[in-house]
């Protein structure tokens, strides 16, 4: 007689992607300097930081590095006396670079494989925000072949094509209950691809102060035919059909950076980078399910991101022929406006501190290590869409190491 509208079950939109997913870990030397260094031709990581500087690298090289990252986030519901922590899970941002060009020629080729965006957050299946999110595992791997050319002895330009391979796995509890009282669950899992570019200009003035202007384009990553699985009581299976798929779009923003490198002495150089991260492209997030039911409708959620920015200052000191020491500080402004903070990336303005060390035992080999720390400010928020109301506080720890072979 009476049809019950099950759409109420999913009145809150399913997933909320985006924001503080930028991972600033693309080269051990630069990480040790808080991520500054676009205006320095330091090493092969310039493929990422500034393709225009690649041609000024003295040697050909390959390097590989990893930065096991711990994202330690805590949440306390407004009015609650219980603090909940994410599980200790280690995300593996990595980077691989190769740079080659005929000696004393005007051009070099480069290849970079790195992870500029990602997130690994697991709050557990029974935390107080489980109906907003239980876990997220997001990886974006960029492949970037690059060409860098010296226009003059002091000016270089470079550009690379970017192919992104993205993986996303999102899980959330649904507020309907099995006979034993436990909640239903949704899992979205998909793979996507996107394309973009990375171009840079490097200028070394007569005073040896260097400048950089770099633009990394946005990469709209399309997830097609991802699996949408719902673990629900049998009586609701008609509303959440098995074998369903979804399409979605994940817009990864463009970044424009201005860099300055200032040599303080023969062995010491200061680097400053200002970056403008154009998150404004992230206005909404839509999920389009292959099979819709009254309970499972396509969603379009407002995100309303503004642009983010960061300011980073680093120093590199060559203590001896074999040993280099580095340190850096930074500050980043969050793109997430009040009311849009979510548990998958509980973003806020953040401080950055870093330190690094480099060791060159032989002419060919180099080892670099870094430690990167972010203190994301405490932020009390009530999400407009889900009603999740509480305070987030996050600390990020990322030690890292890389090996380089040069010739």
């Amino acid at each position: 007689m009476k049809k019950f509208l099950l759409s109420a079950l999913l009145s809150a939109p399913l997933w909320v992607l985006g924001q503080g997913f930028q991972v600033n870990l693309q080269g051990q030397k630069q990480i040790g300097m808080a991520g500054a260094g676009s205006a320095l031709a330091l090493d092969e990581a310039s493929v990422f930081y500034n393709p225009g500087a690649v041609t000024f690298l003295e040697k050909n090289s390959v390097s590989a590095g990893v930065n096991p990252l711990l994202f330690k986030s805590a949440f306390k519901q407004t009015g609650s006396n219980v603090t909940e922590d994410v599980k200790n899970k280690i995300a593996p941002p990595f980077e691989f670079y190769a740079v080659w060009g005929p000696k004393s020629n005007k051009w070099k080729l480069g290849l970079g494989v790195y992870t500029p965006f990602g997130g690994l957050v697991d709050w557990g299946d029974n935390w107080s925000g489980k109906y907003a999110l239980t876990s997220l595992n997001l990886k974006a791997i960029y492949f970037q072949p690059t060409l860098s050319i010296k226009i003059t002895d002091r000016i270089g330009i470079g550009a690379g094509f970017v192919y992104n391979h993205g993986d996303v796995n999102l899980q959330r509890a649904i507020p309907v209950n099995f006979p034993d009282g436990r909640s239903a669950k949704a899992t979205l899992d998909g793979t996507g691809t996107g394309y973009g570019w990375n171009a840079g200009l490097y200028i070394k003035t007569l005073s040896n102060i260097s400048f950089a202007l770099v633009h990394k384009s946005k990469v709209i990553t399309k997830l097609d035919g991802g699996s949408a699985e719902f673990e629900v009581p049998k009586s609701l299976e008609g509303s959440f059909p098995a074998g369903n798929t979804f399409n979605a779009e994940l817009p990864l923003p463009a970044t424009t950076s201005l860099g300055i490198g200032i040599p303080l002495s023969k062995s010491t150089v200061l680097a400053f980078d200002a970056s403008w991260v154009q998150w404004h492209i992230y206005q909404d997030l839509s999920f389009d399910y292959a099979t819709n039911t009254p309970a499972l409708v396509d969603t379009k959620s407002a995100r309303n991101y503004r642009d983010g920015s960061s300011f980073k200052l680093g120093i590199n000191h060559q203590a001896s022929e074999k040993l280099a020491l580095r340190a850096g500080v930074g500050y980043a402004f969050s793109p997430v406006q009040d009311g849009y903070v979510t548990p998958e990336a509980p973003d806020a303005d953040r401080y950055i501190l870093s330190a690094g060390i480099g060791y060159t035992p032989t002419r060919h080999f180099e080892v670099n290590a870094s430690f990167f720390f972010e203190d994301v400010k405490s932020r009390k928020q009530k999400n407009i869409e889900t009603g999740l109301d509480g305070t987030f506080k996050t600390l990020v720890y990322a030690p890292g190491i890389s090996l380089t072979y040069k010739w």
Binding site: M1, K2, K3, F4, L5, L6, A8, L9, L10, S11, A12, P68, L70, K72, S73, A74, F75, K76, Q77, T78, G79, S80, N81, V82, T83, D85, N88, I90, N126, W127, S128, G129, K130, Y131, A132, A173, P175, V176, N177, F178, P179, G181, S183, V232, P233, K234, S235, L236, S378, E385, T386, G387, L388, D389, T391, K393, T394, L395, Y397, P399
Partner: protein, 432 residues
Amino acid sequence: MKRYILNSFVAAIILFAAACKPEIETPAGTTAGQANFSKYIAVGNSLTSGYADGGLYLEGQKVAYPNLIAAKMATVGGGAFTSAFFSEEHSNGSGYISLTALVNGTPTLTPVVDKLAIRDAAKHLDKYNGEIQNLGIPGMRVDLAFDPTLTFSAANPYFERLLPDAQVGKTNYFQFIQGRNHTFFSLWLGNNDVLGYALNGAVTVSTDPTTALTDKVTFSSLYANFLNVLTAAGQKGIVGTIPDVTAIPYFNTVTVAALLNAAKAINPAAAAIYIQTGTGAVRPATAEDLIRLPFQSEGIFGKPNGSGIPYGLHPLNPIENKWVLDKDEVIKLKDYVNSYNSSIKSLATSKGLAIADTYAYFNQVKTGINVQGVGINASFITGGAFSLDGVHLTPRGNAVIANVFIDAINAKYGSTVPNIDITQYRGVKFPN
């Protein structure tokens, strides 16, 4: 060797990070403010007792809003909180209804009849002898709390089970709640003074006082008596306003439009649903007329009478008055609720008490709210807040309302009783 180094490296990171957890400082759970929660008593009706799904049973008793509040008061000096729980062996108490099938959106509701706490053929319930602080009794009303005949204490099985045999039929609820040496109280009573009448289709049965509509002035003076005894020793406390009874799923699930659609599916010529109003008039029903939930399972809709006229579809065989709150009755009920609530608020204000405005809160629930990622609304079964009887709350509904009380207590007395994590409490159980 490489693996060993790698593992040590990972282990070192985890140890390091475990030691460097982010901290969030908040005042929750640090002070009772001007209140003293050492002995809290809860005065009320079925909502206070934890009644749900058309019955009183152990699972519901454990998540009754006063029990949830008391557990949180414990962090700021609250003492033990005792309730007349049914035993594990008789955990299904009075029995209740469960959802056993949901086919194309049509629910099948089945009574649970095992593990009952019925002690005799007259359907009396297992007695409870210990001291109790959850004093909620299903069916209790402000007027009947002062029952001068003292017979309600025998007639109401939920009251009867709490009394020693010697007191059955010899006391009333107003006497029952006194002398308990409380330091803090909650009073959420009065719903049944209008709901009993509404649930009977706005028909008062002269032999059944639970179907009466309590006079407004009487309500106010009796409510004042409650507050006088509960604050006699200067105790602090909280009162709850009465939700709009016409907004609950019981009156908003079987709609006139749904009935008409069902009729049209069989006979496309069906043009209107006919009802008999409270004045005895017969007219086509409109969206402003509310049909009671049990009409759905009664199986009389469309049945031809002796003259072959289908029930509810013809002026000569309308839906009887007892199944319907017609729009004039709805207006009358809303008026009574508003009157009771203004009495409750002004009396509580004059005593300096906290007020949990559940009337205002349920009006928000009716349009739908999102709380901590959970969408809650007043829909039957899927709304999450109301249990299968369409009147009483699910565990999730209890948790949400408990927070309304806690917020009002904290605001009034400067206490920091922690909020309840509502995501730990279920809505309706769906069959697997």
